[in-house]
């Protein structure tokens, strides 16, 4: 019988990290302790707990990590609530990878990169950022603008300040929405911060975050002179099959699970506004 | 040699104030009834949604019995009056659909009627055992 994509693989959660009050990162390997499958930066996988449900999450670990996969998951629905209550050793089912990755090996190659993320929106970008950091010499300067409501809501904070910020040629710009004790960094919303920082346009930008942030950041970048062809984002819609067959996640004739989740803004312009 | 005899699954919904206490009293008085009967405690018989009854059949129950305070004795004044109407209509509908009417029952058992509780359960189990397995309102997925 041929392989069936809907039948998942068995995974084991080996480690759970509380990143923010409502985001946890789950490390998943096969029962043999190996990485479940290979993926490209920006791709997703379906995680499920039988009897609870199945949901699509972006793979937040870099493909260059050969040992395991990680998923940063915000508690919001049925499956995520269940996962948040789980403990290490819990089995889950995993299938994927699904979707199109970021064009890291062609379009991004040799270019300066700007990553802009808000809140849990960093999760899908983490795999790209770490991929690009891994192959540091293939890319130009990397700027990362990341903001969240508060310091506590910054995802992967330790990794950002200990690893990302110390890399050469990587500039990390953190911001939080409101003043907070113990925070001497920037305060303000991401779109404004991006404009304040005033990047040159000779680069590729990747945005991920809440719709309102994306909208204004895009406007900001446009005002800085960026073309839509230079800016990428990832979308999230209701998904069931992950392979463009169940009929839910399409925006116009594009299926987010299959044709996305990575889109360039000029491509999105071609699609109806239904996401 | 004991033959592997058929043992029905019976779900009994008992109101907290009368029937559950009646069941307890049956226990205190060591009045035996078959272990096939398992009680779910509800505040009042009127808490029992027809969906629970169908759910029980779906999950493999062979009989469902509701026990509440005697009409007029409801701890909440009127709950069992509503139960009576709801179940009269529901049972009549199940009968109409051709589902054995003996599989469902409502019985009023007061807190003092431990003996009645035991007798009722003995009789109900006997009736359902005689009917055999529930085939008309079953979900095969739950029967493996």
């Amino acid at each position: 019988m041929i392989n069936e994509t809907l039948i998942p693989k068995l995974g084991v959660i080996t480690e759970i990290r509380q990143d923010t009050p409502d985001i946890k990162t789950f490390r998943v390997v096969s029962p043999e302790g190996k990485k479940l499958f290979e993926h490209r930066p920006g791709q997703c996988a379906m995680l499920s707990i039988p009897g609870i449900g199945e949901a699509m999450f972006s793979i937040t670990s870099s493909p260059t990590n050969t040992e395991y996969m990680e998923f940063s998951i915000k508690k919001c629905g049925c499956v995520t609530t269940w996962l948040h209550a789980a403990e290490p050793g819990q089995n889950v089912t995993v299938r994927g990878p699904y979707g199109n990755p970021f064009p890291v090996d062609d379009v991004f190659a040799g270019k300066d990169l700007l990553f802009v993320a808000g809140g849990v929106g960093l999760a899908p970008l983490r795999s790209v950022i770490n991929y690009c950091r891994h192959y540091r010499d293939r890319y130009g300067k990397i700027d990362i603008v990341y903001g969240s409501r508060s310091k506590d809501d910054l995802l992967d904070y330790q990794e950002i300040i200990n690893e990302w910020a110390t890399d050469s040629g990587v500039n990390v710009h953190l911001t939080i929405d409101r003043e907070q004790e113990g925070w001497d960094g920037h305060v303000g919303f991401v779109p404004n911060y991006v404009k304040e920082l005033g990047f040159d346009t000779n680069k590729i930008a990747v945005l991920c975050g809440p719709p309102i942030m994306i909208k204004f950041t895009l406007e900001g970048l446009r005002s800085l002179g960026f073309e839509k062809t230079q800016v990428y984002t990832t979308l999230e819609l209701r998904m069931k099959c992950g392979v463009g067959k169940c009929g839910r996640c399409n925006v116009g004739s594009k299926y987010v699970c299959k044709d996305g989740p990575v889109f360039r803004f000029d491509e999105l312009d071609e699609l109806p506004n239904e996401y | 040699m004991q033959v592997n005899e058929y043992k029905p699954k019976i779900v009994a919904f008992c109101c907290n104030w009368c029937s559950y206490a009646g069941a307890d009293l049956a226990g205190s008085n060591r009045l035996a009834y078959p272990a096939e009967v398992k009680v779910i405690r509800v505040p009042c018989s009127c808490r029992v949604n027809p969906m629970f009854i169908l759910r029980a059949f779906q999950r493999g129950a062979d009989g469902v019995i509701l026990c509440g305070c005697h009409p007029g004795d409801c701890h909440y004044t009127s709950g069992n009056y509503y139960t009576r109407r709801r179940m009269a209509l529901l049972f009549s509908m199940l009968d109409y659909l051709g589902i054995e009417k003996e599989r469902t029952r409502v019985e009023w058992v007061s807190a003092a009627e431990g003996a009645k509780f035991a007798a009722t359960m003995n009789d109900f189990v006997k009736t359902v055992t005689a009917l055999g397995e529930n085939k008309r309102l079953e979900d095969l997925r739950c029967k493996k």
Binding site: - | K9, A23, G27, I40, V42, C44, R47, A61, D73, S78
Partner: protein, 664 residues
């Protein structure tokens, strides 16, 4: 996901005798959510509870399942245990593996299997439990006592002495009840009036007590701490605050042939009357059925003779509405009707009387002024037969009698026999009995004195027939010890009629939403541990309305009920039952089905704004539950078609999970 701890109790051998508790604990370990499973001899003991507390802390438990006796027994205990360890008490579920498992099954395998299923069911429920917090409601610091007999009097006095206001509602014109009709009391032979009437006076004079005599409870609304009661003050056609109780009217009233119910109809009173000399309140009452003035407007004598101008023929029933924090039912008892006992010729001969009638005959204030005279001819009887258990312990004659033992008959019959022999040594007294039951302090001594010192003939056996013959009564009975049939020519036959709850108790129970047993005695919240409380919160039981009892027992129960009431009224706030209905406004249709079935009026409606699709706003009518009024019956949850209404602690999902677990 929960972290559940399972605790299987042996209850000594009560559970462990037919349930393999170790196996149960082991089997439940692998159920979803269970992280700890233990068993112990007595979970409810100090050590058992400590075990639970330690486990909660050690294993960071979020839910508890105790497989033990009925939740009606120890649910509260284990909830407290959990709370003491910092766990929300409503995260505790009990699997009843004693009353509903070990005690009814003999086979170990069967019992063990069932216990596992019951445990699994409780685990399935606890997995869906959510911490609940009880709502709070204020307490009206006033109690209502329904019934003014010795039970009601004692309860009222005890509550009032603790400093709380008490109202007594008595349907008769005076308080005093049955005890006021008694002559002497066993086993000490005190005169009933001598010990009762001072208490009646205490009641009348107590500044914290109000008496609503000749009144009845009309309507009860609300809930523990917050009852709203409507009391009907029946028209007595006499202004209560004006009447001095001089009694002149009762002497002048021309209507002389009114059967005197205080003397059980054995003599007459006037149409305006004061029941007895020591009545409290001592106020005249007009019997509207006999008063000529009220019936056809002719007479008016009492108004004319009344110097206080207390007579008011236009008086109507009045209604008083009052708030109470607690209600005590003390509605008492009555002897059953003898109408169906033709074999004893009660309706054929005036000389066949009940013990209560005998009591009046012996009483100095009674119809014969205390002389023992036959009602038929006023002649002193020389041979009296007492018949015990008339209508009591009557398993085979449930249609006319009672299955239960009326408890007081053996003792009062001994009293009557003894008093008769004492006062009239020439009178021969025979008592027919099934058993003589005398468990009580000085009771058996009392009975033996009657039989041995006073020469009362006790015959074990039942009377089959009493037939009037001339001015004699032929009593045919059997002597089971001598094994022979007896035929006695008696002058007077006294029947120890069974007692039953007062007829007003059932409608009252309905109003109070208090449950009753098949005999119409009020049910106690627990027969042993909560004998003076009704299962309905805020309703307490005092005296014979809960079951047959004698005066000492009644008084002690009355005091106990008072103590419970005081305990309640002493609180400033009550924490309610958090297992109440709640409406999910997003799903509610506002159809009003739930409101219509709610017995407490706990559901109201409000128009609320909701976000519609595409940034629109919708206004919808939605149901809202008043948690202080809701009692958590769940009737609304089934009336609600959309499932918007659910019951906390007994949620749809929880019950379905239980169903699933049972059927698995």
């Amino acid at each position: 996901m929960q972290r559940i701890g399972v605790f299987v109790c042996w209850c000594g051998s009560n559970i462990a005798g037919t349930v393999d508790v170790v196996k149960v604990a082991e089997a439940l370990k692998s159920e979803p959510g269970v992280v700890h499973s233990a068993n112990y001899q007595y979970m409810c003991s100090q050590a058992g509870q400590q075990l639970i507390k330690d486990a909660i802390k050690e294993h960071n438990l979020t839910g508890i399942v105790v497989c033990s006796c009925s939740p009606r027994m120890h649910e509260a205990t284990f909830r407290k245990t959990a709370a003491a360890a910092g766990l929300n008490p409503y995260m505790v579920e009990i699997a009843n593996i004693r009353e509903q498992c070990s005690w009814i099954h003999k086979d170990m395998q069967e019992g063990t299997e069932k216990a596992i299923v019951l445990g699994r069911t409780a685990i399935a429920k606890v997995n869906l439990n959510a911490p609940l917090k009880p709502g709070e409601s204020p307490v009206t610091k006033r109690a209502l006592v329904i019934g003014g007999g010795i039970a009601g009097i004692q309860t009222a006095l005890d509550i009032a002495d603790a400093g709380f206001e008490v109202d007594i509602v008595e349907k008769k014109p005076t308080i005093g009840g049955k005890m006021a009709q008694l002559d002497k009391t066993f086993p000490t032979l005190d005169c009933a009036a001598c010990i009762l009437t001072p208490k009646m006076v205490d009641v009348a004079q107590h500044e914290k007590i109000r008496i609503f005599s000749y009144s009845e409870v009309e309507e009860v609304k609300g809930f523990v701490g917050n009852f709203d009661v409507k009391i009907r003050k029946k028209a007595r056609y006499v202004k209560e605050d004006v009447c001095t109780g001089c009694g002149l009217c009762t002497e002048k009233c021309p209507m002389k042939k009114v059967p005197n119910d205080f003397n059980l109809g054995m003599d007459n009173k006037r149409a305006i009357y004061i029941p007895f000399a020591q009545a409290v309140p001592k106020i005249a009452t007009i019997d509207a059925d006999y008063c000529n003035m009220l019936k056809n407007g002719k007479c008016g004598v009492c108004a004319k003779v009344c110097t206080a101008k207390a007579i008011d023929y236009t008086q109507k029933d009045e209604f008083v509405e009052e708030k109470y924090g607690a209600i005590v039912a003390a509605t008492g008892f009555n002897p059953i009707s003898m109408d169906k006992f033709d074999e004893f010729a009660y309706s054929q001969s005036k000389d066949v009387i009940t013990s209560l009638e005998f009591e009046r005959l012996m009483n100095a204030a009674g119809p014969t002024a205390g002389k023992l005279l036959r009602p038929s001819d006023g002649v002193h009887p020389h041979k009296i037969v007492f018949v015990q258990c008339v209508g009591s312990r009557c398993a085979s004659c449930a249609e006319k009698g009672k299955e239960y033992c009326s408890k007081i008959c053996c003792m009062y019959t001994a009293k009557h026999a003894m008093l008769t022999r004492d006062k009239y040594p020439d009178t021969d007294v025979t008592v027919f009995y099934i058993d003589v039951r005398t468990p009580g302090k000085q009771f058996d001594e009392f009975y033996r004195r009657a039989a041995e010192e006073y020469g009362v003939h006790y015959i074990k056996g039942m009377v089959g027939k009493v037939s009037p013959e001339g001015n004699k009564l032929i009593v045919q009975g059997s002597d089971l010890i001598a094994n022979k049939q007896l035929k006695i020519e008696a002058d007077l036959v006294v029947l120890a009629a069974a007692i039953e709850p007062d007829k007003s108790a059932r409608p009252l129970a309905t109003m109070l939403t208090a449950s009753m047993d098949t005999n119409d005695f009020f049910t106690e919240a627990h027969p042993k541990l909560r004998p003076v409380e009704s299962p309905t919160a805020g309703i307490f039981l005092s005296g014979a309305c809960q079951g047959p009892k004698d005066i000492p027992e009644t008084v002690s129960q009355a005091g106990a009920a008072a103590a419970k009431v005081i305990g309640l009224l002493a609180k400033d706030k009550l924490t309610g039952n958090p297992c109440v209905a709640q409406s999910d406004e997003l799903m509610c249709n506002g159809c009003s089905s739930c409101e219509k079935v709610c017995p407490y009026g706990a559901i109201t409606y409000a128009d609320k704004e909701f976000r519609g699709p595409n940034r629109t706003t919708l206004i919808r009518r939605v149901a809202q539950v008043n948690e202080a009024i809701c009692q958590g019956c769940g009737c609304c949850t089934v009336a609600c078609p959309s499932g918007a209404m659910d019951l906390k602690g007994f949620a749809n999902k929880q019950i379905m999970a239980e169903v699933d677990a049972i059927c698995k």
